[in-house]
Symmetry: C2
Subunit: 476 residues, 2 copies
């Protein structure tokens, strides 16, 4: 009954595979960000839906005419913006298989392989990243799951923390009025968003002071907790970030953990971008303090190249997670789950439904191999350090934050804040307008900053050299 038959699917599918490969191999020829105004895409398409099926050729003609010129090319070798969101060939194949099988992994019984391969992948990654044994599914209280995004991982951590701090009462009374949460101004926006969703308004979110490296000051955290406790609040959650979004700062998790232990505070560590660095043994310092964490997340969909969405979330307290999120109507009961022998991942996340996302991680680890990801991590860190040396040797620039991994934060040098801010902003605009590279602006300590994030799959040394030439040539 569907218009696309199996044979047409084979024919179009082959063509589309070829087109995707060609796109990824030639993406450098396009400007990184399209030069269009809001509304321009819609104006190229019919305002009303078609009444008859259209041909594959017509649809692909619109992909060429409308879509490719109006997307922002995250796979471009000049992608130095935000963080990378790489999509490797192996993970594209994994996503294709997932879409083709069309199974639902909400419960073990609704597709056993979907659940069990996911659990195994989380255990494989625990091993590959050398994370604490307490994160393994085979441990007494721990385990891992694939979330759709670090935002969702943060939210489920908050919900588990909220459940534990209230002894589960929150499920019935919804009372969060005494709970206080802690993080720095450098934490990801999803921390505030998640807390707000969970009923912890900004009045009870403590923005803990950071030091000159933009890392949390443990003493400030301790003081805030003590003040809240004295005032009758119940400190319940802290987010320690391993690699902040603005400058890749590392909060001191072990020191934070000391305070959590005394005060029974849930310690969530957000290593969304940088956690993957631990695939390379010499960078396992990024795991500092994780042995004290109640939960942790890192994103293979950034540096590791597994296409979005693939966030890994581990906890050492799955009872709290299940306490917070488990709901069991009749139509979802199963013998396997009730016996405790099986994991029903619907109780580990916000949504009910879930795709077979483990396939793309499985494909990447097996087909590309971990060594290829280690190579990429080492290359990106090395290129970042090389660029940092060039920047440090040019008096027109200041480096404004530590750069232990693959993010460099720089700005125009000078004493006048307004003038240097303006020169920095102008430099960002000039680079971006050329379309050969894309960088993101941020603000650190009230100062405009140009972020250079080096991590796109296709970025080679020549692209970093070209960026440096632009930086030198375009600064006013």
């Amino acid at each position: 009954m569907p218009h696309v038959t199996p044979d047409e699917f084979r024919e179009h599918g082959h063509a589309l595979i070829d087109r995707v490969a060609e796109y990824l191999e030639t993406v450098e020829d396009r400007p990184v960000v399209p030069e269009i105004e809001p509304g321009a895409v819609r104006a190229m398409l019919p305002e009303h839906p078609p009444t008859q099926p259209e041909s594959w050729d017509d649809v692909m003609a619109d992909v060429e005419r409308v879509v490719l010129p109006t997307i922002t090319h995250w796979q471009h070798p000049g992608w130095f913006a935000y963080f990378p969101a790489n999509t490797t060939y192996s993970s594209i194949l994994g996503e294709l298989l997932s879409a083709g099988l069309g199974v639902q992994g909400m419960s073990w019984i609704t597709s056993p392989a979907c659940t069990e391969i996911e659990t195994l992948m989380l255990d494989w990654m625990q091993e590959l990243l050398e994370l604490p044994e307490a994160f393994r599914s085979t441990s007494r209280w721990g385990g891992g799951v694939i979330q759709g995004s670090a935002s969702e991982a943060t939210l489920v951590a908050i919900l588990a923390a909220r459940w534990r701090a209230t002894g589960g009462d929150v499920n019935a009374d919804g009372d969060t009025s005494l709970l206080t949460a802690y993080t720095t101004s450098q934490a990801h926006s999803s921390v505030e968003k998640g807390l707000r969703i969970a009923g912890i308004g900004t009045d009870r979110i403590r923005v803990v002071e950071h030091d000159e490296t933009f890392a949390m000051r443990p003493a400030a955290f301790r003081d805030a907790v003590n003040a809240d406790t004295k005032a009758g609040f119940r400190p319940f959650f802290v987010c320690s970030t391993h690699g902040t979004t603005s400058s890749m700062a590392f909060d001191p998790t072990s020191a934070i953990a000391d305070i959590c232990r005394v005060n029974d505070i849930w310690l969530h560590v957000d290593g969304a971008m940088s956690g993957i660095a631990a695939l390379a043994p010499e960078h396992r310092w990024v795991n500092e303090g994780l042995e004290h964490a109640d939960s942790y997340c890192t994103n293979p969909h950034k540096w590791m190249g597994v296409n979005f969405d693939c966030t890994l979330y581990w906890t050492t307290d799955r009872a709290a997670l299940l306490g917070a999120l488990s709901i069991l109507p009749e139509y979802l009961r199963s013998a396997a789950a009730e016996s405790g022998a099986a994991i029903d991942y619907r109780d580990w996340q916000i949504p009910l439904g879930r795709r077979f996302r483990a396939l793309k991680l499985w494909f990447t680890i097996r087909l590309d191999g971990v060594a290829s990801v280690q190579d990429r991590i080492r290359r990106d860190i090395s290129l970042t350090q090389e660029l940092a040396e060039w920047v440090a040797g040019d008096e027109r620039f200041d480096i404004v934050a530590p750069h232990p991994l693959n993010l460099l934060c720089l700005r125009a040098a000078g004493d006048d804040l307004d003038e240097t801010n303006e020169r920095t902003d102008t430099l960002i605009d000039r680079i971006n307008s050329l379309g050969k590279a894309h960088v993101t602006r941020t603000v650190l300590g009230g100062r405009s900053v140009l972020r250079v994030s080096i991590g796109a799959r296709t970025t080679e040394r020549e692209h970093v050299i070209a960026l440096w030439a632009q930086l030198r040539g375009l600064i006013s």
Copy 2:
């Protein structure tokens, strides 16, 4: 640097396309649900990750040996369980293109086409389903977005409602202590889950009485609202379900809306499964009362065949949605968004990151055509009514709920509750153990019920006839 090269991707991609087509065409040869015990999948795979890259042939051999025999086959023509989660060929191609382009649609500027085509698809679907004009992005206050699941749609509706009822104060004080919410016992589990997440504990969730058709009694809703208001609570949210999960009951939305209007209660309508029926003009009664809704969702990833995940969410009050979910750190600012000319969909959902999910809906509407989906809807409803006639003509069965669309709820006839429950449960187990068809058990009014959901893409009349033969032959 990655092991899979562009040429290997072309070669393996073609092979995988062919394999997916073959899988979908031959899925009927497999038992619907694998007969395995928890742990069986993992036992077939290495406990530790590989240290070297593996060959495509080795990986695909494991797909054949391990994965295909241990997934539950949602695309099987004997899939009468839960609800369908169809994956059409056109939508698989759309998902492949999305994975291949690897763009992020969190903001307009991070990929304009990703945002604008999504907005257009929501407007196309508003038109195709003949939903209220106030849902369109071009209306004064409305608009739509693709969510990952109906659970997330329900949660964002609750959060918008919470924001509006508190005049936005909840973002700062997190105070939900006076808010009360309403639904029936037949609403989806995600309603309770979402309310709990939002700090509305079960103490303040009112389970409103339903009638003998399992639809909400408006008078009971009104009485509950009045009692709460009198007691000093602030009734703020009701979920009216169009097609409940257990029995496809329809809550009377217009009557519910009358009470909402007087009491300023957010009216969310959950049409996750059945809303797609409105693609066929003669079934547009499923839209009853939507002109009064503050928000609505329906899932193309069920009946329409767009592979999971693709939930459509519309609201007529986008200011409340943005009020609840907008967070704007420096590194996410953009001129296009600040001018108000562009939509930044990160503020319409829980996660930050988002895939180009609109492509698969665009591909389905254009390549398959709406007529093919209308055909499927009409076929499934017709088959359900035919089966209902056969069941009604056999005194060994009772039909226990109205069946206006494609779900039939039946049970063993008889006066003894325990005995008929047991015979019903036994019948479910017998059918499922044969592996030719799969049905789900639910409980309605304390009685065991066998649900027959007819909606898999591949289900034809012969499969319903075969199911009926099993029902007749296996009932004790």
